[in-house]
């Protein structure tokens, strides 16, 4: 089965919502789906876990250019090689409302969420994307731009 088929199959299984799990080459992906159809998917959270740790300095350079499937462009906010993690968020110039995208990388895992700022703090929010965009996003998140060991 191709990666494309694996993603489609997992999404077809959660059309009314649920968690889609996809095993890939060196990655395990978990997608919290609110709803999906043949073309698109409404997502609450995406988590990609790799066999090896991310190179956070490399992804800080690379992902703002390669992760373009989200509603806003990303900008590195915190890059912390000492802790093996990074936080990227929507570039403020791209934001059109009180929501922003956030990609948090911790060691081997990257997690994507959309946050809404409220007077009380923040709350998780859904976002929509086509299946094609989702496939591209998962590809981009599995690569940090560092050379293979």
């Amino acid at each position: 089965m191709t990666p494309r088929d694996a993603i489609d199959l997992a999404l077809d299984g959660v059309r009314a919502g649920g968690t889609a799990q996809i095993e890939g080459a060196g990655t395990q992906t978990e997608i919290e789906v609110v709803e999906s159809d043949r073309l698109g998917v409404k997502v609450r959270r995406i988590r990609v876990e790799r066999d090896r740790a991310y190179d956070v300095e490399a992804l800080g350079d690379r992902w703002p250019k390669t992760v373009r499937q989200l509603p806003d462009r990303l900008k590195p906010v915190e890059i912390e090689p000492r802790l093996g993690g990074a936080t990227l968020r929507s570039d403020p110039e791209d934001r059109v409302d009180d929501t922003f995208m956030e990609v948090e990388v911790r060691d081997r895992a990257a997690e994507v969420q959309r946050q809404r700022t409220t007077p009380a703090g923040r709350e998780a929010s859904d976002w929509s994307m086509t299946r094609e965009q989702l496939r591209g996003l998962l590809d981009a998140l599995s690569e940090d731009g560092a050379e293979e060991p």
Binding site: P76, E78, E80, R82, L83, T87, Q115, T117, G121
Partner: protein, 358 residues
């Protein structure tokens, strides 16, 4: 003296003006930037300068609307600003008092009996020798009167008293040992990538007013500055407000360093301890937040008069840390938290942090 009364009245007007504009002054860093060693200049654009007013003299130069038609002649527009800014100088202490009155802040009560002592020279003794500048006129006169009466030369019809050298009395100081009220303020600030320039400006303004208020209540105040991202270090005041890092946020690193400094240099029996922490609330992990709570519960809170945490909103809103603190220390009076969504909230935040009078 009349001039003193007028000056006092003028200062009252200015104080009232500053009080009315306090929110504006507190939310801008203009004032902080104008701070000299002891004095702060405050621009007051709308103070009416006293001017002469003419009375009812029958003869004199008149002024009125006049009569006539047609265009008048005038000068071209000037190129200088039309409003004269009057700058008034206040001591930081005076400003803190104005803030205290406006925010109705309770006075701080230093905790316990301080074991530290300080010796001060108090002018409450009288000596037969001393510099003329310290001569005690009343005591000198009384001594001269006593001598004159005792020698039988006092004439009630002509009561002239002339002090001689032996009559002169002088004020003199007596060393007095008192318990010293001392405080240490520990400022901790998150300088990780998520804290922007605007957030730092807000922290700077808040720190200025907090500092001023605490200094009003203690003779000795020491301030220490800690910045942190994933690691903490102690810095001087300038570095504290200027540093920006791109790293992640490990709040526990700051608390550990604060504890280390307090353990080494500030015995809690002798010092009133005020830690203030400023962050956007995006801590690295839940496990680090747990560690922070443990450090607070075991050491920082028991040692401090009050632990204050102010969470400044970033362009990505407000982080989770304040909720974690409030949830954990809901019944702990010594933990005070405050959210600062924008500059306009600085005054309310300061009121929250200082409302307990600890």
């Amino acid at each position: 003296m009349r001039i003193d009364r007028d000056l006092g009245r003028f200062r009252d007007i200015v104080r009232g003006k500053v009080r009315r504009d306090l929110r504006k002054h507190m939310s801008s860093n203009e004032l902080v930037g104008k701070q000299g060693k002891k004095l702060v200049s405050i621009p007051l654009p709308q103070i009416g300068i006293p001017r002469l007013r003419y009375g009812d003299n029958k003869k004199g130069v008149g002024q009125g609307d006049g009569q006539g038609e047609g265009p008048g002649q005038g000068q071209e527009a000037g190129d200088a600003p039309g409003e004269h800014l009057l700058e008034v100088e206040f001591t930081v202490q005076e400003l803190a008092e104005i803030m205290g009155e406006e925010l109705e802040l309770p006075r701080i009560e230093p905790k316990g009996e301080s074991q530290a002592q300080t010796t001060k020279n108090i002018y409450k003794g009288i000596a037969k020798t001393g510099p003329e500048s310290l001569r005690h006129f009343k005591r000198t006169y009384r001594q001269a009167l006593r001598r004159t009466i005792a020698s039988g030369t006092f004439n009630p019809e002509r009561p002239v008293i002339v002090p001689i050298k032996e009559d002169k009395r002088y004020r003199t100081f007596v060393p007095e040992t008192r318990p010293r009220s001392a405080a240490v303020i520990l400022y901790m600030m998150d300088v990780s990538g998520s804290m922007g320039q605007e957030q730092k400006e807000i922290v700077r303004a808040q720190a200025f007013w907090l500092d001023a208020w605490i200094r009003l209540h203690y003779e000795d105040v020491e301030t220490r500055f800690i910045i942190h991202d994933a690691a903490a270090r102690e810095v001087d005041r300038d570095t504290f407000f200027r540093t920006r890092e791109s790293g992640g946020t490990l709040i526990s690193s700051a608390y550990k360093l604060a504890i280390e400094i307090l353990e080494k240099e500030y015995p809690r029996e002798a010092w009133n301890i005020y830690p203030f922490h400023f962050s956007d609330g995006d801590n690295w992990s839940k496990s680090d937040t747990q560690l922070c709570i443990q450090l607070l519960r075991d050491k920082l809170i028991p040692w401090s008069n009050q632990f204050s945490y102010a969470q400044v909103d970033s362009q990505y809103g407000s982080g989770q840390f304040i909720k974690d603190l409030e949830g954990t220390f809901v019944e702990e009076d010594k933990v005070v938290t405050s959210r600062v969504p924008s500059r306009d909230a600085i005054m309310d935040s300061i009121k929250t942090l200082l409302a307990a009078g600890r």
